[in-house]
């Protein structure tokens, strides 16, 4: 069908939660993102599919500026992160504090959890609320316990990450991201490092968040999961968005695109 679907048009009334325009990123000679245009409405769940090396992680990392793109803009909740050219090539954030404030409003969940090993699960969850948002510790603890209960590991609050299973660690990492009450959640292959029997418990938590109406960008290889929970599915290939649209469209039978062949495996 429509091989090069244009990116979702921004809603003129409701500004996008995330808006990406003309994003380019290269590592040395390798151009990883070759001009990405992309929007996510508030409350939209977007799944990003694509083969390994197609630039999915790089796209997520450019959205919260863990990687600084060479060209293009990223706007989160109506605020664009200003980048200025720096000596010796590349760009840097014009205002590092503004970038930190923006990052505090974007939750990120990593493939390998990246919980802080020197802190308990509760310590991980309250760290940024108490030290970045500087909210009262008691409030943060109460909220953290509620979040841990929600992701089903309330009994692990005082454990150190090394003592948890992968699935429990990832759920703790999700609670840590939620504790900042982020505008948008980024998930980078949240279940790829998990043993198969632990994938379900993490997907259940993400599904519950989707049903709450949170804005989420999810890089995943779980096709059925993506089909079930996404409002929009984006297919990336070699640094470009090759196809995007509602799941019933992009997964329609007879859709003879690279995405269809990707799903076939």
């Amino acid at each position: 069908m429509n091989q090069m679907t244009p990116p979702t048009q921004p809603d003129p009334i409701q500004p996008s939660a995330v808006s990406v325009r003309g994003l380019r990123k290269r590592y040395g000679a390798l151009e990883v993102l070759k001009g990405i245009d992309f929007d996510a409405r508030r409350g939209e769940v977007v799944s990003i599919l694509g083969s390994s090396g197609s630039g999915k992680s790089t796209l997520l990392r450019c959205i919260n500026m863990l990687e600084i793109p060479e060209a293009g803009t990223v706007t989160v909740d109506g605020t664009e992160i200003a980048l200025v050219a720096q000596r010796g090539g590349g760009r840097r954030p014009a205002d590092a504090r503004a970038m930190d404030r923006m990052r505090a409003r974007i939750g990120m969940v990593f493939q390998d959890f990246n919980l802080w090993s020197h802190k308990t699960v509760l310590g991980n969850v309250i760290e940024a609320p108490t030290h970045v948002q500087k909210r009262p510790r008691a409030d943060c603890i109460a909220e953290a316990r509620a979040l841990l209960d929600k992701v089903g590991i309330a009994d692990k609050a005082d454990q150190y990450p090394a003592r948890l299973s992968g699935g429990q660690q990832q759920r703790a990492a999700i609670a840590r991201a939620l504790a900042m009450n982020p505008t948008v959640m980024l998930f980078d292959e949240p279940t790829s490092a998990l043993d198969p029997e632990l994938v379900g418990e993490v997907l259940r938590v993400i599904r519950a968040l989707a049903e709450e109406g949170r804005t989420m960008l999810i890089v995943t290889h779980e096709i059925n999961f993506a089909r079930d929970i996404s409002d929009t599915v984006v297919f990336m290939n070699e640094g470009v968005i090759e196809e995007s649209g509602p799941p019933e469209e992009v997964f329609a039978p007879g859709n003879n695109t690279r995405l269809a062949r990707f799903i076939e495996g």
Partner: protein
């Protein structure tokens, strides 16, 4: 062995213990602060300071502490600029020369230990902190440094012990530490074996106490390793069954 003489010697050496402990404590504290600054300069590649630190570490790790001590004690006096400066009030005292040599020496080793520890902090944990909006000093204080410290502690504990023993060189610039007093008693009595056995016992006791302290700090900082994991317990139980 003359145990009565040994006991007398032991008592005569006791006044040297505070000197030894003070030299070790002060040089380790100051040395660790310097080491941290140097390590950060190296890890962050703050130019041109990092070149200076690289040169300094190269020199101080590549030469014996005794040579460093003698160069500071005998060598600095040759420069009229130093003799006429404010620093001379300190540098003409053997105590301050010994302290300076010890501080500079341990800071060189310590900076390498801390540099390695800072480099070993998993990149992902730093990214997770950045993703939460942490940066700069906050990120260092709350995430990088505590993780690095846990990594560095076993090696730094070793450095503590080496430094306790290194303080004995201060006796060679006339300080009355444990070794300094021991040397004096030997000169008076010509009974080196008993005297050094007594001195050695004192160093052994201090080092053993220090080892316990470092171990305590390790368990305090790594509560997740305090009680053995269930798997380890199964292994231990099995060992009991099959001798």
């Amino acid at each position: 062995m003359d145990f009565e003489f040994l006991g007398q010697t032991f008592l005569k050496l006791l006044p040297g213990i505070p000197v030894t402990l003070e030299l070790a404590t002060v040089s380790l504290l100051l040395g660790a602060c310097l080491a941290l600054v140097f390590a950060v300069i190296r890890v962050r590649r703050i130019r041109p300071l990092n070149w200076l630190v690289i040169g300094y570490v190269y020199v101080f790790r590549g030469t014996p502490l005794l040579v460093q001590l003698f160069i500071i004690y005998y060598g600095l006096a040759q420069f009229p600029e130093i003799r006429n400066s404010f620093a001379w009030t300190y540098l003409r005292e053997p105590y301050w020369c010994a302290l300076l040599a010890l501080v500079l020496n341990t800071a060189a080793y310590g900076s390498e230990i801390l540099r390695g520890a800072l480099l070993s902090v998993p990149r992902g944990q730093i990214m997770a902190a950045q993703a939460c909006g942490m940066s700069g000093l906050l990120l260092f204080r709350r995430i990088s440094f505590p993780i690095a410290l846990r990594q560095a502690l076993p090696a730094y504990g070793n450095e503590f012990i080496l430094m306790i023993k290194a303080t004995s060189l201060a006796s060679l610039v006339t300080l009355a530490d444990v070794t300094g007093i021991a040397a004096r008693i030997i000169a008076e009595t010509y009974r080196p074996v008993e005297v050094f056995v007594a001195a050695g016992t004192i160093y052994l006791t201090i080092c053993y106490g220090l080892i316990l302290l470092v171990r305590l700090a390790e368990t305090r900082l790594n509560p997740d390793q305090r009680d053995p994991a269930p798997v380890a317990r199964v292994g231990a139980a099995r060992k009991e069954v099959t001798p």
